[in-house]
Amino acid sequence: MMLGVTLRSMLGRKLSLAMTVLTLALSVALFMTIERLRVAVRDSFDGTISGVDVLVGARGSDLGLLLYTAFQIGDASPSMRWSSFLEVEQDDRVGWAVPISLGDSHRGYRVVATTSAYFDHVRTGRDRPLGFTAKNEALLNGFGVVLGAQVARTLGYQIGAAITVQHGLASAGDSSHKHQPFIVTGILEPTGTPNDYSLFVHIRAFEAIHEGWNGSVPSQGPDRHAGAEDRLAIDLSGPEFEPSRMTAVYVGLKSKRRIFQFIEDIEDRSRKEPLTGVLPGITLSHLWVLVGSAENALLIFSVLIVVVALAGQMTLLVATQDLRRREIAIYRAMGAQPMTIAGLLVTESAVIGVVAAVAGVVLTLLGTWLAGQVLGGYLKLDLNAFMLTTSQAQALVAFISVSVLAGLIPAVMAYRSSLQDGMRARF
């Protein structure tokens, strides 16, 4: 019954309360969306190549190599020699090595030239292997191409479709390998990582189309007019399709204990080609330190906005306090203890806080969904809109608590004035 009365009392002040709730909700949503994006960016980065122990590339910056190879960010890295890959692959300590060659694209999506071993060894998220939503046995045989989930979805490709790749990342232009179509042989499950936005072809097929494109060995090149089946059956094992250069190698070690020794050897200046060995986790944590202060500034700003909104709630409650002295005098006349009245006001703040939090969550989901639409493709994020992170849930609980605390101030005021007023409101 008192809840009913409180609700009616609030309904009577619906405009000012609605404004307050809206302000609170927007501030909460802003904070939570920023937090969600932050967590999503980190999860996505940290989870992109979680099964890879060492990333090996040409001599250069660790971060640059990692960002370019795994995240498609930044300028092309200088290439490394194929012979260096073979050396790495044959190293005793190496359990597996997957070559990566980058540079081509298909309608704005990056083409990753690699081997089928990529699907066996690269993990995403918390060590989750790559899975297929659809595939046929050919995979990267011949001119097979495997699509990331997002590529397949946006472009509407299915198994068996023939697609051509293009030189460079430009989405228009004539520098395409038109006469060397690839046949879709597999579609990956969504991972929330750049894999979703990539196409995978065999590094030898990649070499083959570049040879053709160079025009140097057209007659020896595979038959350009073969049908889909035939294109998957094309034999590319010949030495003429062995690439000479490539971008990087993903390496899995037999024993992680020898990881630093391995990197030292890789980076040895006396090698034929000195290379760079990158520990993805450690290099990323350097990145987080770099961006951390900017992130913190953003978070502090959004927390401040929440604080301002809470101050607004408090102002409203305090400002309307005088108008409510009659209401309080009535409760007192009915025998209500000053504490009970304080409790009623705190309850009211709690209701405001909870409603604002719920509205904030709804706005956050909306905001996240929008951010996913606008930024998802650009940042290669998997923004699962209908999900709250733990940090968001904690923030919500903190927000509701502070909102209740904000209600304590008018409650204490009411407590005092009700002791003074007794049954009669004096003004």
């Binding site: 009616r8 203890q337 049954m423």
Partner: protein, 231 residues
């Protein structure tokens, strides 16, 4: 008969220098007591004392057979909730709440008083009391209080004061905003209803025409019970 309220040599001083003195005063069960006095003579202050909102500065006051000296403010609040129905001069009702909610408020802060509701259900009892105050319960019950006329509001407040059978009803000039016809109608209805429930009435007014039918009349203008002190 036991006295619901009993005061001897009661003095109440306000910080500003005002003092209310009542040498001897008592209200028995079922008795109707009128308090007369000019504005500022301390009528409302007396109701504050009887309601247990303030305690006398000196002398003794016992409410429902308990000395206010022995009671905490918390206990006094509880005593009021249980035993006293209150009607103000105005602003009796929560304007945003329905008539039903406003009346039900009478038993909201005291379990004892809620358990004294006699009819099978709270809403039936509220209906009965609204009818006793000559209000059309069916059509009014769920209307917000701010849509009522002043006369209706005062009668709703009376119904609330009667809810849960409190042994004492205190009313602070409840008719002063009403016209003459409405005043006597309100008095008649209130007297009838409180008589049938057996409640005593402490009724404050500065209008001597309203004191017909009261068992005891206290005049605060009388220099005997009150006097003014200059600080």
């Amino acid at each position: 008969m036991t006295a619901l309220v009993e005061a001897t040599e009661m003095v109440f001083r306000r910080p500003g220098g005002y003092a209310l003195r009542i040498p001897s005063f008592s209200i028995s069960a079922g008795e109707a007591v009128a308090v007369l006095g000019a504005s500022g003579s301390g009528k409302s202050t007396l109701l504050d004392l009887v309601g247990g909102v303030v305690r006398p500065t000196s002398g003794s006051l016992s409410l429902f057979e308990q000395s206010t000296l022995d009671l905490s403010y918390r206990a006094l609040d509880r005593l009021r909730g249980e035993n006293v129905g209150v009607i103000f001069q105005e602003h009796n009702l929560l304007p945003f709440a329905t008539v039903y909610q406003n009346v039900a408020l009478g038993v909201q802060f005291s379990r004892v008083r809620r358990e004294r509701v006699i009819a099978p259900s709270l809403s039936e009892e509220i209906t009965r009391l609204l009818r006793a105050m000559d209000l059309d319960a069916n059509s009014l019950m769920h209307r917000p209080a701010h849509t009522l006329s002043v006369g209706q509001r005062q009668r709703v407040a009376a119904a609330r004061a009667l809810l849960g059978q409190p042994p004492l009803i205190i009313a602070d000039e409840p008719t002063s905003a009403l016209d003459e016809g409405n005043q006597s109608r309100f008095m008649t209805l209130l007297q009838e209803a409180r008589r049938s429930s057996g409640a005593a009435l402490l009724f404050v007014t500065h209008d001597a025409r309203l004191i017909d039918g009261f068992d005891q009349i206290i005049s605060l203008d009388d220099p005997a019970p009150t006097e003014r002190e200059d600080p």
